[in-house]
């Protein structure tokens, strides 16, 4: 498992492109207040304006500045994405490693539940739950995390099972190391690259889900989101407004997901070394 992730990413053009895209989106999200003159929630009577020097991308149906909505939308996407990514990774590590180390009945029960969740389509569960509880941002992050850690737990468990039998861990056991110590000091650090791959999967899925749910109109209506922008803009697609309203929101969302996809593809070779290297016959 001693593969340098940095090297892996540097060697791959796709990986580099992904990182550039993601850094760009993060920068725009952080600098949002400095790059736009308007508060994204501020309404005015000047609705559905065309782009001009005052409103770079015009205004929407209730007179909000579309350019600042686009920038602040990046914040929502990234916040949900990274929030869910971290929480679901923590759950994956917790259940994956404990299942591998404890084994026996506990392992069986955890893995059966994991498998069961994997075959249930997650989006319909989220729609059902969200229809009842109308989640705000923190609740949405928790909800998505609780429903998306299962795939990662399976991968992490498999990896922990093979690490468990490796020499240095057996050695530390003979020195009297406990299960918790082994999990935290040996298994987790050895799994660095895999954890990163799983994290990026989680982020990508969450960015996608947040936009999709907002597009369906589930969730906090006050939240500035690319999904909400597309949903609102769709109702006016018979006008020319889609050019500066719908398309920028859709492209921003797609670009973010593409950036994450590129990074995860470049890091995937960590999970499957057979995919590495140059051409074969």
């Amino acid at each position: 498992m001693h593969i340098s992730l940095k090297k892996e990413l540097k060697q791959s053009h796709i990986g580099k492109a992904g990182i550039i895209i993601l850094v760009l989106v993060i920068t725009l999200a952080i600098l949002a207040p400095f790059l736009s003159r308007y508060n994204p929630g501020q309404q005015s009577t000047a609705s559905l304006l065309s782009p001009s020097g005052v409103h770079w991308l015009g205004t929407n149906q209730i007179g909000q500045d579309i350019w600042s909505q686009l920038l602040y939308g990046a914040r929502t996407s990234l916040l949900v994405g990274f929030g869910v990514g971290i929480f679901s990774l923590i759950l994956s590590v917790l259940f994956g490693i404990s299942a591998a180390l404890v084994g026996g009945l506990y392992d069986k029960i955890v893995m059966r539940i994991v498998d069961a969740f994997i075959v249930i389509p997650m989006v319909v569960v989220v729609i059902l739950v969200a229809a009842y509880i109308k989640p705000d941002l923190p609740v949405l992050i928790l909800l998505l995390a609780v429903l998306s850690w299962q795939g990662g737990a399976r991968v992490i468990r498999a990896q922990a099972l093979s690490l468990k039998e490796s020499g240095h861990i057996n050695a530390s056991r003979t020195f009297g190391a406990g299960q918790l110590y082994i999990a935290w000091r040996h298994i987790v650090p050895d799994m660095g690259p895999i954890l990163l791959v799983e994290f990026i999967y989680g982020v990508r899925r969450a960015v996608f889900m947040e936009a999709g749910l907002a597009f369906l109109g589930i969730g906090d209506p006050m939240l500035v989101s690319w999904g909400t922008m597309m949903r609102d803009a769709m109702k006016f697609s018979y006008l020319d407004v889609w050019r500066w309203w719908l398309v920028p929101a859709g492209v921003a969302l797609s670009l973010t997901i593409i950036g994450l996809t590129f990074i995860s593809h470049a890091t995937e070779s960590v999970l499957d070394p057979r995919l590495r290297g140059g051409a074969v016959a």
Binding site: F117, V119, I120, P121, V124, L128, Y132, L216, G250
Partner: protein, 323 residues
């Protein structure tokens, strides 16, 4: 052995689905009757009806008895009553289901077949320029959410070029029949199917390409080449066929993704399937319909996954002999 394990997995999944559906309206603050039946029911509510509903759901009894009442009703095909449509939930959903099945079925078949062919070709040329272009291109397409792809197709082909219908599944009041009816259906389904196919192409492509790369290194490929077989036979009969198996195991999972993708894409094209029904039910808080859709979609995906699991050992003898 594996079948027994699968049965347990699907059993647990089914229990999770049923319990979620049962418990959610009942843990909501306020009147559970409201949460079970939605806003619309309040308008129709009379003391008689309320008494009937309380009895029907055993709401004055313990949670276990309520669950029992819920399960028995469900096994009798009673998914509840939609006061919004004034019709049984099962009927409301079944009226929409054929359209969704049409779109989902065609997209799943098209995206899988196309993904396999592209994956075989790309994996065969691994490391070449064609391979890199295909890989980058398809992965970028994979980043486009299906509803955005749908919107782009709608604007390009519907609004700008004006060659595709903007909404619906049929031309209203046209009274078409026979061949012209079929053509009309296809014309309306073309863009939603295209959006879903393109959005889900990458799954089959990436998986086939990855397996191709491993299969190409196998000794039997060298033997086949030494026999002097033609390139197409090598590519499809030997490497391609062996790359097919992982794709089959994934079709159940992909079905789930295409179905949920269809929920969003139907909304874009105002296509009268289950997706649009979900959207309307969310707007009108028609909880019985939302619950019914959840149940039917989730259980269909379970059944499809189970069918794939049963089919798989028959296709790959190595699996059934492994035990």
């Amino acid at each position: 052995m594996t079948i027994k394990r699968n049965l347990i997995t699907y059993g647990i999944a089914l229990i999770i689905i049923l319990v979620l559906n049962f418990i959610l309206p009942r843990i909501m603050p306020g009147d559970p009757l409201m949460a079970i039946y939605g806003d619309e029911a309040l308008v129709a509510m009379t003391p008689d009806l309320e008494a009937h509903l309380v009895e029907r759901f055993a709401l004055d009894q313990s949670l276990w008895q309520q669950f029992y009442a819920y399960i028995t009703a469900m096994f009798q095909g009673d998914l509840g009553w939609s006061y919004y449509y004034n019709s049984s939930v099962l009927q409301v959903i079944f009226a929409r289901l054929p359209w969704t099945l049409l779109v989902v079925g065609s997209s799943l078949v098209l995206s899988t077949l196309l993904g396999i062919v592209l994956g075989v070709e790309s994996g065969w040329r691994r490391g070449s320029k064609t391979d890199r272009v295909m890989l980058t291109g398809l992965m970028s397409l994979n980043g486009f959410p299906d509803f955005f792809l749908g919107l782009v197709l709608l604007i390009v082909f519907g609004v700008l070029l004006g060659i595709a219908p903007l909404s619906g599944a049929l031309t209203p009041y046209s009274g078409l029949s026979g061949l012209s009816f079929v053509l009309d259906v296809l014309k309306h389904a073309a863009l939603p199917v295209a959006a879903l196919t393109i959005a889900h192409l990458a799954g089959g492509y990436l998986l086939t390409r990855n397996t191709m790369i491993t299969v190409l290194k196998e000794p039997f490929m060298l033997t086949a080449k030494a026999k002097g077989l033609s390139q197409n036979v090598l590519k499809y009969r030997h490497a391609g066929r062996n790359s097919l198996l992982p794709v089959i195991t994934m079709t159940g999972i992909w079905l789930g993704r295409v179905v949920t993708g269809a929920l969003f894409v139907e909304l874009v094209f105002a296509y009268p399937g289950v997706g649009q029904l979900t959207y309307q039910a969310l707007l009108s808080r028609d909880y019985p319909v939302i619950q019914g859709i959840f149940l039917i979609v989730a259980i269909s995906v379970l059944i499809a996954n189970f069918a794939v699991d049963l089919l798989y050992p028959k296709l790959d003898p190595r699996v059934s002999h492994a035990h």
